[in-house]
Amino acid sequence: MLKTLLAGSTAGIVLLAAAAPALAQTEINWWHSMGGELGERLVGIADDFNASQDEYVVVPSYRGEYEESMVNTIAAFRAGEQPHIVQVYEVGTGTMMAAQGAVYPVYQLMADHGSDFDPNAYLPVVTGYYTDTEGNMLSMPFNSSTPILYYNKDVFAAAGLDPETAPATWEDIESFSQAILDSGAAQCGFTMAYTATWLGTENLSALHNVPYGTLENGFGGLSSELAFNHELAVRLWDKLAEWQDAGIYAYGGTAGGADNAPKFYSGECAMYMNSSASRAGVLANADGFEVGFGMLPVFGDVAGAPQNSIIGGATLWTLAGHEDTEYEGVAEFLTYLSSAEVQAAWHQATGYLPVTLAAYELSQEQGYYDANPGSDIAIRQINLNEPTENSKGVRFGNMPQIRTVLDEEFQAVLSGDKTAQEALDSAVQRGNQILREFEAANS
C-alpha cells in the first residue's frame, strides 16, 4: 500500500515536472475499449506521439468494452463532456453516421486542417466500410480484423489428414470433421465465434456475394430492409444444427462465445473460426500442438465464391463541439496514427489488419509474413476480389440489437425449437421492426 502510494506520488511529481514547461499544451482526449495487452500497446502509441512533438498531448482513457464505451460517449455528448476521439466498433457505425451533428467526419477534419490525407492509401475493404455514399471517409480506420480459420495440425495428422491443407469449403469442414471424429483424434470437429452474426450471416453473405440487406446492405439509406434469410444462410444454419447433433460442431455461446476458445485450446475441437486478432491469444494458449491457418470456408457449389470477407473491429470517430486548435491536434495525431511505421507495428503486435497499403508493404519488407506463416491469411482474404455492394460491409442502425436477435433465433434452431428457415424469417421480420424504429427516430 505504502509502496504504491510512494510510486504514485513519485509518478505524479515526474508527470508534473514533465508537464510544467508545456503548460500551453492542448489536451486531446481519446476514449478507447482496448483492455489488457492491447490497451498497453495503444497507450504506447499515444506516448510516442506525445514525445514526438510538444504542442499537443493525447490522453487515452479506457471506457469499458465497445458497448459500454459507446453508451458512455453518448451520455457524455448529451452532457457536453464528450472526448475529441472515440473508438467505436463496426456495428455502431450506422448509429454514429446517423448522428450527423455529433460527428466531425474525418475527411472534413483533414480538409479543414490542411493535412495531406489520402483515403486511397487505405485498403479498399476498410475504407468501404466507413465511407458514405458519396465516397467520403467518415471515421479513421484503426483496428480492423476479419475472421479466419485456425486448426490443430496435430489432430489433423492423427486423423490421417494432411496437416498442411486447411479446409476450403463447408463440405471439407464436414468431411474433415467426420474423419477426425471417426479416428478419435478429437471429440468435436469445429467451433466458431459469432456463429449467428459476424461469421454465419454477415461474412457468409459477403463471401458468396449475396445481399445481407437491401439498398447496398444499408449503405444506401435508412429505409433499407434485411435480406439475410437467403438460401445459403438457411443451408448453413440447418447444417450447423445437424452437425451439432452429430458432434461435428460445438456451440460456445452468444456473440464472441466465451466457451469457444477453451474448446480449441484444450484440443477438444480440431478447428476454430474467429477474428484474425485472436491470433496472439491462440498462439499463446495452444499448448502442445501446432496451429494451422486458413480462410473461412465457403459452399463449394457457389460460383464466384469466395468473393472477399468483410471486416470487424473499430474505427476512431472525431466528435463535434470542440475548439479549432484542438482539432488541429486531432488531425495531426490521426495522421501520425496512420503512418506506415505505427500501423505496421500495431498490426504485427496484435493481429489486426494493416489498414494502409504502406503498412502492409512495410511489413512485407520487414519479412514479417515470411517469419510468421499464416499471418497474411486475413489480408489476402479481404483482398481476394474488388469488393461488390454485397461485400463491402453492412451498415444498419441499431445493429447491436439486430445481432442480438440473430443470436436468439440461432439458439432456437440449435435447441430444435425452430427450423433455420423459420428462425431466419423471424430474425428478418424482427430486425426490420428495429430498423423502422431507428428510421423513425433519426429522420
Binding site: 436468439e408 439458439q411 435447441s415 427516430a441
Partner: protein
C-alpha cells in the same frame, strides 16, 4: 406499542431535520423517476438531437409485443421460485440452528457468509459450477443422464439463475428468521412440550404464526430483491438468454435502453416496472398485512 411523542417548540425545526432525507429522495429518486416518465412519452435518437412527443405509443407497443409479455412471464416464474426457495430454505436452516445449543454460532457464521457476496460474483460463481465444458455440476449430472447446457436450454438457464439468486438471499432471510425465532418466548414452547406437542407440532402451531411479521417483511424485501437486485446475476451469466429465456423485466430495461439505445421504450418499461412494484407493495400492506398476527 406506546411511544412518547416528541414535541418541537419551533415550527421550522422538524422540517430542517427531515430536509436532508427529502433532498436525497428528490435528487436520487423523484427527479430521475420524472425524467423516465417524461422520456417514456418521447421518441428520441441516441444523441438527443431530435425529440418527438409520441404519447403512449411506447406503452401500446409494449403490451402488443410478444417478447415483452414473454419477459413478464419469465419474471413471474423467476420471482416466485427465488422467493419460495430462499425463504423456505432459510426457514428450515433457522429452525435447525435454533435447536442447537453449542454450535449455533458456528453455523450462523457459515450461513451468513454468502450475503457478503455481490450478486455479480454469485452469478459468476454458479456460472463456473454449471459451465457445460468445465463445471463440476454438469459432470456429476451426466451420471443421472442429464446433458446440462445452459447456453442453449432455456430451462437449464432459468434453473441456474434461480439457484444463484436464491442462494445469495438465503443468508439474509436466515438471519431474520433466526432472530424472530429467538424472540418467541420459551415459556410458550415449553408449555406446549409439557402438553405433549412434538417439535413439528410446536413449530407449526406456535413458532410459525408468531413469526408472521418477519415472514411478511421478508416477503416484501425478497420481491424487491428479485425485481431489481438480481440484475447483476443475469448480466454476469446468461445475459437474458438463451433466446430470451431469462430476460427478466429489469434486465430487459437495461438491454433495450443501453445496448439497443431505444431510450423511449426502455423508459416506458422502467415506468411499468415501477408501477408494478408500487402496486405490489400497496396490495401487500393493504390486504396481506391485515391478516398478519402481530
Amino acid at each position: 406499542m406506546e411511544t412518547k411523542r416528541t414535541v418541537f417548540p419551533n415550527k421550522l425545526l422538524p422540517y430542517l431535520f427531515v430536509a436532508p432525507q427529502l433532498v436525497i429522495t428528490l435528487v436520487f429518486f423523484i427527479w430521475p423517476a420524472t425524467q423516465a416518465v417524461k422520456s417514456s412519452f418521447e421518441r428520441t435518437d441516441p444523441f438527443g438531437f431530435s425529440t418527438q412527443f409520441v404519447g403512449i405509443t411506447h406503452y401500446i407497443r409494449l403490451f402488443q409485443d410478444p417478447l415483452y409479455l414473454n419477459s413478464v412471464g419469465r419474471t413471474v416464474v423467476f420471482a416466485v421460485a427465488v422467493t419460495a426457495i430462499s425463504m423456505g430454505l432459510a426457514l428450515l436452516f433457522a429452525a435447525a440452528v435454533s435447536r442447537l445449543v453449542r454450535s449455533s454460532q458456528f453455523y450462523t457464521t457459515l450461513l451468513v457468509w454468502p450475503y457478503a457476496v455481490a450478486p455479480v460474483v454469485a452469478g459468476i460463481l454458479w456460472w463456473f459450477l454449471f459451465n457445460s465444458s468445465t463445471g463440476i455440476l454438469p459432470y456429476m449430472l451426466r451420471y443421472f443422464g442429464v446433458v446440462w447446457n445452459a447456453n442453449l436450454n432455456g430451462t437449464h438457464a432459468m434453473i441456474l439463475v434461480i439457484i444463484a439468486a436464491a442462494w445469495k438471499q438465503i443468508s439474509y432471510n436466515f438471519l431474520f428468521f433466526l432472530a424472530g425465532m429467538q424472540s418467541v418466548p420459551h415459556s410458550l414452547t415449553e408449555a406446549a412440550a409439557i402438553d405433549g406437542a412434538g417439535p413439528l407440532k410446536r413449530f407449526w402451531t406456535i413458532v410459525f404464526p408468531l413469526l408472521s411479521p418477519t415472514t411478511f417483511f421478508l416477503f416484501i424485501v425478497n420481491i424487491n430483491y428479485v425485481m431489481f437486485d438480481t440484475f447483476g446475476i443475469i448480466a454476469a451469466t446468461t445475459n437474458g438468454g438463451p433466446n430470451q429465456a431469462t430476460n427478466i423485466l429489469v434486465y430487459k430495461v437495461y438491454s433495450d435502453g443501453f445496448i439497443g439505445l431505444n431510450i423511449g421504450s426502455s423508459s416506458a418499461q422502467s415506468v411499468v416496472l415501477m408501477l408494478f412494484v408500487i402496486a405490489l407493495t400497496f396490495i401487500q400492506f393493504r390486504y396481506v398485512e391485515r391478516r398478519v398476527n402481530y
